[in-house]
């Protein structure tokens, strides 16, 4: 599936919920089901710096695709990471770089895009794209 197809699938899933509480409960479930990052990758270099919750992201190049794994000490943050990883993992770095993030707005998580949400979506997306840039150079 392409990133766009996965994003559409996520938007579809979230459209089933009537209110924010159900959306957040689903996000918390996603957070709990996020496959854990290997302990050895939970190191300072993989930490996305911020002042609220801790988020670690690690990337592996498998063939010409990037596979992400991540963790956070806050469960809602973990849910957000889970959504991002589902959309962007196992994709070609070029596709990751070209993807837009409109789906975040569509699933009702727009408030997490605000710069005051330190450690929120913005820095996570930036980190995923940084990995994509780094590995794209390697593939070239």
């Amino acid at each position: 599936m392409t990133i766009q197809e996965i994003q559409e699938e996520i938007v579809d899933e979230f459209s089933m919920f009537d209110d924010w509480m159900q959306r957040y409960e689903y996000m918390i479930e996603l957070g709990k089901s996020l496959p854990l990052i290997e302990e050895k990758y939970k190191v300072e270099e993989n930490l996305i710096k911020g002042c609220q919750s801790k988020v670690w992201v690690h990337a592996d190049l498998i063939g010409d695709k990037l596979a992400f794994s991540a963790d956070s000490d806050a469960i809602i943050t973990k849910g957000i990471v889970a959504i991002l990883i589902r959309a962007y993992s196992n994709q070609h770095p070029t596709d990751i770089l070209e993807a837009d993030n409109k789906f975040i707005d569509e699933i009702g998580l727009k408030e997490h895009l605000s710069p005051t949400r330190a450690n929120g979506l913005v820095s996570m997306i930036k980190q995923l794209k940084m990995y994509a840039i780094a590995y794209q150079t390697q593939l070239d």
Binding site: W20, M21, Y24, E25, I28, C51, Q52, S53, K54, D73, A74, I75, I76, T77
Partner: protein, 412 residues
């Protein structure tokens, strides 16, 4: 609640009408504002003063001969006098307008560089806000002075025995907050000031968190420096005060150069203006200063004793209700504290709790509250902090408690 309301020292419902923001909804719910330790809300009386300034007499002060400038100058200086009276300060030129507490602290720290030599000691407390740690660390780097820290106890109080042992003839300055922003502990500053002076050192007390709740008598305290921000006491952001004893303010060099702070300027030599202008370079926050005075009028009309006793009732009620929640731990359990409750629920991240209660219209602070050393002491990433003001109600406490319970249910 009717029975309770009759016994209250304040008519909260009438007071709440003064605050337009309290009528709004957040995320579809009525706003419950419990982040007062970060910034307080502004009553219409203060908003009116701000609007009046820009509508009727906006002008630069201390310079113009024209009437508007005179009017603005008079109002600005009248505000300085109000602040002087409020804090019972001997002379109005001992009140320096600054952009806030952080600016005030940096002004003093910068000025003290010339007073320090290698090996001199500066004492700060373990309960400080970063703004009362970092400037002194920078000062130590610059001068070779050594930073000593008064440790804290599990209750979140200063270890006073340890403090007395830290004092010596090497001590040149002591910096401590009147009230801790992260925990709400009221520190025994009378004892700290007296002991510091006995050791021959100077003392700065950060009153940012105390000023909204406690009316400090600065002459009685005999403190050398006391700093506050207007925005924590119903005033606007971007303005605050530095109180300094005249002898100290005369001794310290100016912090910034510019207009207003000079007497004469030539390329050979500039002589500085008298106090307070020596420390007020450039065009100040004129409107902010005037509104700061109006905010003090507003709070004094309600009365600080009434404010303190009502907020204490809120604190006791909220503490009792929170402690009923299983796994909830309160950090900072001193008997003497302002209406601040810092807490965590076992197994939950404060950020998650804050996010959920925000969706329910409740504003609390989560994180380390710019006091990382305190969080390190308790070995936690941060806390949820609810801080109450005199315009909060018992009903709001109930809404807050049920939101916390809801968050706990969702997150566990």
């Amino acid at each position: 609640m009717k029975a309770v309301a009759d016994k209250l020292p304040l008519d909260i419902e009438t007071i709440r009408l003064d605050f337009p923001i309290l009528k709004r909804k957040v995320n579809g719910y009525p706003l419950v504002y419990l982040d007062n330790a970060a910034t307080s809300q502004t009553p219409q009386q203060v908003i009116d003063v701000i609007v009046d300034y820009y509508s009727n007499y906006n002008a630069n002060i201390h310079r113009g001969v024209h009437s508007l400038s005179q009017e603005a100058t008079d109002k600005y200086e009248a505000a300085r006098k109000k602040i002087q009276q409020h804090f019972n300060v001997a002379k109005s030129h001992e009140i320096i307008f600054t952009s806030g507490t952080t600016h005030s602290i940096n002004l003093v720290a910068n000025g003290f560089a010339q007073e320090l030599n290698t090996g001199d000691e500066i004492i700060v407390s373990a309960l400080e806000h970063h703004s009362n740690i970092v400037p002194w660390q920078m000062l130590c780097e610059k001068t070779g002075a050594v930073l000593k820290v008064i440790p804290m106890t599990q209750e979140g109080e200063l270890d006073m025995d340890a403090f007395h042992k830290l004092l010596s003839d090497k001590t040149k300055m002591v910096f401590v907050n009147h009230v801790s922003n992260a925990l709400g502990t009221v520190n025994p500053i009378e004892e700290i000031i007296e002991a510091t002076h006995k050791a021959g050192a100077a003392i700065l007390v950060d009153g940012a968190q105390a000023a909204p709740h406690i009316k400090a008598d600065l002459q009685a305290l005999d403190v050398d420096f006391y700093v506050v921000s207007a925005h924590k006491m119903c005033g606007p952001t971007g303005v605050g005060m530095l109180y300094g004893k005249e002898k100290w303010l005369n001794k310290l060099p100016p912090y910034q150069g510019g207009g207003e702070m000079i007497a004469t300027v030539s390329f050979e030599k500039t002589t500085y203006a008298e106090l307070p202008h020596k420390f007020e370079a450039g065009t100040p926050n004129i409107c902010g200063g005037i509104a700061f005075g109006a905010a003090l009028d507003y709070m004094n009309a309600i009365g600080f004793e009434n404010i303190a006793s009502y907020e204490h009732m809120l604190l006791e009620y909220a503490t009792k209700e929170l402690l009923e929640i299983e796994g909830l731990k309160i950090y900072g359990t001193s008997k003497d504290k302002t209406a601040v409750i810092s807490f965590n629920i076992e197994g939950l991240h404060p950020y998650d709790i804050g996010t959920i209660v925000d969706k329910l219209g409740i504003a609390v602070r989560t994180g380390h509250h710019c006091a990382q050393p305190i969080m390190d002491f308790f070995k936690i990433p941060g806390t949820v902090r609810a801080s109450f003001s005199f315009y909060n109600t018992f009903e709001e406490v109930d809404v807050f408690i049920s939101a916390i319970k809801k968050a706990k249910m969702m997150l566990q």
